[in-house]
Subunit: 339 residues, 2 copies
């Protein structure tokens, strides 16, 4: 059961008593050949457990059927779900996924992109941590490899972009808090280097403005998408005088941090502080208290981005598309609504 080399096309050809080119044609169903030789080749391939080398094939055909997927953190539920969505449609279109984690850092992202390009992937799916435009352009936009951004994009570049409707989401959250009668509303912000984080912050300020409420600096805190950052930022915000009566979170991790901070501080939700967050999670309903959220389908984001990318790979001329994934408000107890 030990093994020598893997069988090559030449081995198969020899076994079947034909030339390599004939064997290739037989296996790929191209060209006309007799049923007889075709069968012989198939048989030989089976007998030798032949598995054609994608490496050699790719080198020759100049196409890898592989797509690079770059995210700040694979273990985040959002990215994992987006990956899953992308996976499925890519697989159906005959593409494989080469995954890279940028580790939430620009340098990591650049390294990932380099590696992927060196592998000659046919396309790129990236959620950027906030690369500056120049760096991105010289790195990939100068090449033939199409890149579709999702969730967080580099402005004015790429073959397509799929973003969540951040503005609509924050609007829903803010207006709902105002309907509950709150006027002192605070925000837990995520990373402002990513468009998703910045857009949510901007939408928050704009929404309040629209209702004649000017933003107080002390009511905005946070700069990373982590639970710990949510905890810290919440404590900071609650320290302001007067403290806010409502808190909107830019992500579920931040909201979890807020929950922890409030529990520790003895701040009751929603009685002392109303809370609602961007991102629904499958466990949101089971939290204490159940979280009011802005929901969307993260797998959809990946799926759409993958579709855009496949479209561009197949037809490079198709102009850059921008897609927005819709969101909806899910009312639960944390904002003050009754079940």
């Amino acid at each position: 059961m030990g093994t020598g080399r893997e069988a090559t096309l030449a081995d198969v050809a020899e076994y079947a008593g034909v030339s390599a080119s004939t064997a290739s044609r037989a296996l790929n169903g191209r060209g006309e050949l007799s049923e007889q030789t075709r069968a012989a080749v198939r048989e030989a391939a089976a007998a030798l457990q032949f598995e054609p080398s994608q490496l050699a094939r790719s080198l020759r055909t100049r196409t890898t059927s592989t797509v690079g997927f770059v995210v700040p953190d694979v273990s985040s539920p959002f990215y994992a779900a987006a990956l899953k969505g992308a996976q499925r449609t890519l697989e159906q279109s005959g593409f494989r996924v080469l995954l890279m984690d940028s580790g939430q850092a620009a340098d990591g992202e650049v390294a990932a992109l380099r590696t992927l390009l060196a592998h000659r992937v046919d396309g790129l799916l990236v959620s950027t941590v906030g690369l500056d435009r120049d760096r991105f352009v010289t790195l990939v936009a100068g090449r033939a490899t199409p890149c579709v951004f999702f969730d967080s994009a580099v402005a004015d570049t790429g073959a397509g972009t799929v973003l969540l409707d951040n503005e609509a989401g924050i609007d829903l959250l803010v207006e709902h808090m105002l309907e509950h009668g709150h006027r002192r509303v605070a925000l837990l912000a995520g990373s402002l280097r990513e468009t998703s984080g910045r857009d949510r912050l901007d939408a928050f300020v704009a929404a309040l403005q629209r209702h004649g409420i000017s933003t107080r600096q002390e009511y905005i805190a946070g700069d990373r998408w982590t639970q710990q950052n949510g905890d810290l930022a919440t404590r900071r915000i609650l320290g302001s005088n007067p403290p806010p009566t409502a808190l909107i979170s830019s992500s579920v991790e931040l909201a979890l941090g807020a929950l922890l901070a409030c529990r520790d501080l003895g701040v009751r939700i929603p009685d002392d502080l109303a809370l609602a967050t961007f991102d629904d999670a499958y466990f949101a309903e089971l939290l204490d208290p159940p979280l009011t959220t802005v929901a969307y389908d993260p797998a959809d984001v990946g799926r759409l981005a993958a579709q855009l990318l496949v479209g561009t790979i197949r037809d490079p001329e198709s102009g850059p598309h921008k897609l927005t994934v819709g969101v909806e408000l899910v009312l639960r107890r944390s904002c003050g609504c009754s079940p």
Copy 2:
């Protein structure tokens, strides 16, 4: 900024006025060459934005520096975390990750393995959905590509295995329930085709046995790792007469389903039913009620598996290793403990 072909090593060589082999040596730092030509080549590479084709390199060197990663479901937090752990150590060792999702099906897993083998990955990291031994052996064990299993393995094969200490985990859970005075203890089981699921079930039966309690068939239900299955199975179990007073769950998804079912049925936790589960989750403490769990580091599982794999790739002779990742009990309210 459209683009022609990517620059090739030959282009770089020409630009620098040297031969391709010299260019290759200069870039890879092999052999002795004058600082002068080395600099010239580097300069040329930079000027042309040369990115060496891993494809060609791999074809020539017969090594891809790529590892295949196969899991039943990427979007599951456990696998996502394991992936993250593996990623990190693989990256440090110079390997890239080609990710495939088997979609919880044996056929999907076989397809994934085939694809990965065709890509000539240097190694495989797989959490099997329960492939039968023969199928696995003819597919990959007959080849030179080493395979390390994690979380769920195919028995007696592979270059290594990293499993959670399922038995210890279930023991902790069962004994804790017994300490609380429960005698009618039920189990939410996961997929029995995976070793993780089967091991937990077996450990459950054995643990009760050890304490002189024989297992009742009606107290065991479940066959998939989903929240929905947890919900259904819980309802079935609670329908038995007399119903159990304690419920142990094989995974956090199942436990979430149980929480939902109990809420719907008006069964209070822990008063009417004590609950505890395998798998800690970052939100376990924030649930209502906070969940008592068996915790471990999922990233560790991936990390160790990756280390084993890299070791085997570097030294194919190193015998098959079996590693077990430790677990610990985290007491919270759902089992009846007070905070």
